[in-house]
């Protein structure tokens, strides 16, 4: 993956497939550590599956017996000197936490969080994004957007284009010139 934002998209797709109705994603940069958490209320994983989930030859997929998403994310974090954790409970949901050392030469750029956020939008699922850099924070909650939209689908192309610009502007403002 060229960007951490693409890993986030990939891991959040797992939450979508686990039938989550709410996915909370936090991206926090502070004290030279970039922390990403993805928390869902999907179907969760059994203890057995959880133990082998970072193995690339574990997957729920039926087309191939290979699942690269979680191993790639784990590696991307650990090779910076950071860490990776995954917690899950059947019926309750899953939380993935990855910590990256910001000034490590092996860290991928954070990349385009707004593109990732709008790619995931859908009528049956809600997202809360909390983006924090050096103590300044921006929250994007699709439940607030849907309340404004009424019966217009949040994934209509015009709405996606608008929301992408809204997110880009707010994230740029939080970054204040810092490029993660």
């Amino acid at each position: 993956m060229r960007e951490i934002a693409l890993n986030i998209l990939d891991i959040a797709e797992n939450s979508v497939k686990a039938k989550a109705s709410l996915i909370e994603i936090t991206v926090t940069a502070a004290d030279n550590i970039l922390t990403v958490t993805i928390t869902d209320n999907g179907k969760g994983m059994s203890k057995d599956f959880l133990e082998k989930v970072t193995d690339p030859f574990t997957t729920t997929r039926t087309t191939r017996k290979v699942g690269m998403g979680i191993p790639l994310f784990k590696d991307a974090a650990e090779m910076t000197g950071g860490s990776f954790e995954i917690e899950s409970e059947p019926g309750r949901g899953t939380r993935v936490t990855a910590r990256f050392v910001i000034d490590s030469i092996d860290r991928a750029p954070l990349g385009d969080i707004s593109d990732t956020a709008v790619t995931l939008l859908g009528p049956d699922i809600d997202f809360v994004w909390v983006y924090t850099v050096n103590g300044r924070s921006f929250t994007f909650d699709t439940r607030e957007i849907k309340a404004e939209l009424g019966d217009i689908p949040i994934n209509s192309p015009e709405i996606i284009s608008f929301l992408r610009n809204l997110l880009k502007e707010n994230i740029d403002s939080i970054n204040g010139g810092t490029v993660l």
């Binding site: 087309t63 957007i145 284009s161």
Partner: protein
């Protein structure tokens, strides 16, 4: 800076159009489906998805949906895009990038002609 309040204006414009739509539209909907599993994402599916969204939004096409799907089982041909036009056979494009997406949009989605050179058999 744009805010959530700005969304009301867009909503009102879109709602005005929805009133004018008749119910048979759902069956006449064209779908552009982008493979968005690990393989697709790593190969560049996200910019392809967003390119299609912007093209559809800019052209104001109300009967075209852009959606995501999982792995289609042909990882080395990603990004893969399937186009479903009502009454026609499904068309599968492979190794799509934003430039090819523009061409597929102009020639196929708007123009109604399949872009043969990007089809699965041609790669």
């Amino acid at each position: 800076m744009k805010s959530i309040a700005d969304i009301k204006a867009i909503r009102d414009q879109m709602q005005a159009r929805i009133v004018n739509r008749d119910n048979s539209d759902a069956e006449l909907e064209t779908r552009i489906v982008v493979g968005m599993a690990t393989c697709g994402i790593a190969a560049g599916a996200r910019p392809v998805f967003n390119e299609f969204v912007d093209l559809v939004a800019a052209k104001g096409l109300h009967n075209v949906k852009v959606t995501r799907t999982g792995c289609l089982g042909m990882c080395k041909l990603e990004p893969i895009v399937e186009v479903f036009v009502p009454g026609e056979e499904k068309v599968t494009y492979v190794k799509v990038d934003p430039e090819k997406a523009k061409e597929i949009f102009t020639r196929h989605i708007v123009g109604g002609q399949v872009v043969n050179e990007y089809l699965i058999g041609e790669q």
